[in-house]
């Protein structure tokens, strides 16, 4: 379990989580990218949607 840096809510890391996967805080909706660490995963704020994102 990791704490949201915005609202301190607990963010559950999925069992099948992968590095760079995006997780969202269930309380405030902030998005984070999972980064591998020696203890499993840490988080960093996800990149905001870019003007050129799409299909």
């Amino acid at each position: 379990m990791i704490k949201c840096t915005e609202c301190d809510a607990e963010i559950k890391i999925p069992d099948d989580a992968m590095e760079n996967e995006i997780v969202t805080c269930p309380d405030c909706g902030a998005s984070y990218e999972l980064i591998k660490s020696s203890n499993g995963f840490t988080i960093r704020p996800a990149q905001s949607v870019g003007e050129d994102w799409g299909e």
């Binding site: 992968m18 590095e19 760079n20 870019g50 050129d52 994102w53 799409g54 299909e55």
Partner: protein, 288 residues
């Protein structure tokens, strides 16, 4: 980045690990297929390296950023890799005017469109052809900056705004507003098959059908007419894995967009078709 001597079957190149990319990785793992993922944002590319490093490597392009996608495709294809889809497809699909002209050359049914390169000529051609019309940025996704121009006043307001934007937005691309049900069709092409399709319904108070704008999805049966049209569009764009968008006009189906790095989460959800596995199979067959 350098080519790996212990070569995987193929690579997935991404900049955001979304549901689609994760499902592709999991589908490969289930089939015990060795793949390597490359995070485009965390790597650099030696553009003048030995081309044997990537010769014949198969790279599935999944970058969500249009510019990351286009330029990393150019880099890897230039180094000899087979990028899916190719640079040609990325360029042609990534620009609505280019797409229109490519499809037009193959006599594929498309909405009528016109372009202009100044405010004055844009207003002139709009007034000549009448309203409503749809203005679309030539490069853009998820319905951003697409506007319905119902009359001259609306057109003048939008076009004047564009004057203060990046020069790409001074290339004015207009399409007819096609009379259709409040939905369009997203078809997923993998190789020489249309593997699944969905209806995309407009969200509340919205005329655009993009899922990114809150549209709803429903399964759509792939008809022989749809299949023929989508495969012809895919062949014209020289693409292998594409999302072909169709509108049901009064005169039959029209192709209004071909997506180079198609999303398929909603299509899998509502159709149950295992698109990630089909894509992995397609990539695997590339190496044979």
């Amino acid at each position: 980045m350098k080519g790996n001597t212990n070569k995987p079957s193929f690579f997935i190149l991404y900049d955001q690990l979304r549901w689609e990319e994760k499902s592709l990785i999991e589908a490969a793992q289930k089939k015990d297929i060795k793949l390597e993922v490359i995070n485009c944002r965390e790597n650099s590319i030696e553009l003048d390296q030995d081309k044997s490093n990537y010769r014949d490597d198969v790279i599935l392009q999944r970058c969500v950023s249009y510019y990351n996608n286009l330029h990393s495709t150019a880099a890897f294809e230039g180094l000899g890799a087979q990028v899916i889809n190719s640079l040609h497809t990325a360029i042609m699909c990534g620009n609505k005017l280019f797409t229109h002209m490519e499809l037009s050359k193959s006599d594929i049914a498309i909405p009528k469109a016109f372009c202009a390169f100044s405010n004055q000529s844009a207003m002139s051609i709009l007034n000549k052809n009448g309203y409503p019309k749809v203005i679309k940025p030539v490069v853009g996704s998820w319905g951003r900056m697409i506007a319905l121009l119902k009359d001259k006043e609306a057109a003048e307001a939008v076009i004047e705004d564009r004057e203060h934007m990046y020069p790409l937005y001074h290339v004015f691309y207009f399409e007819e507003f096609v009379k259709r049900p409040p939905r369009d069709i997203r078809s997923i092409v993998v190789g020489d098959r249309v593997v699944a399709a969905i209806y995309r319904y407009s969200g509340d108070n919205e005329w655009k059908t993009n899922m990114a704008l809150g549209g709803k999805a429903e399964a759509c049966k792939v008809t022989s007419e749809m299949e023929e049209l989508c495969l012809k569009a895919a062949k014209t764009m020289k693409g292998e894995i594409l999302g072909v968008d169709l509108m049901e006009s009064e005169n039959g189906l029209l192709v209004h967009e071909v997506n180079n790095t198609t999303e398929f989460k909603n299509t899998v959800r509502v159709t149950g078709v295992d698109i990630p596995s089909l894509i992995i199979e397609h990539l695997t067959n590339h190496n044979k």
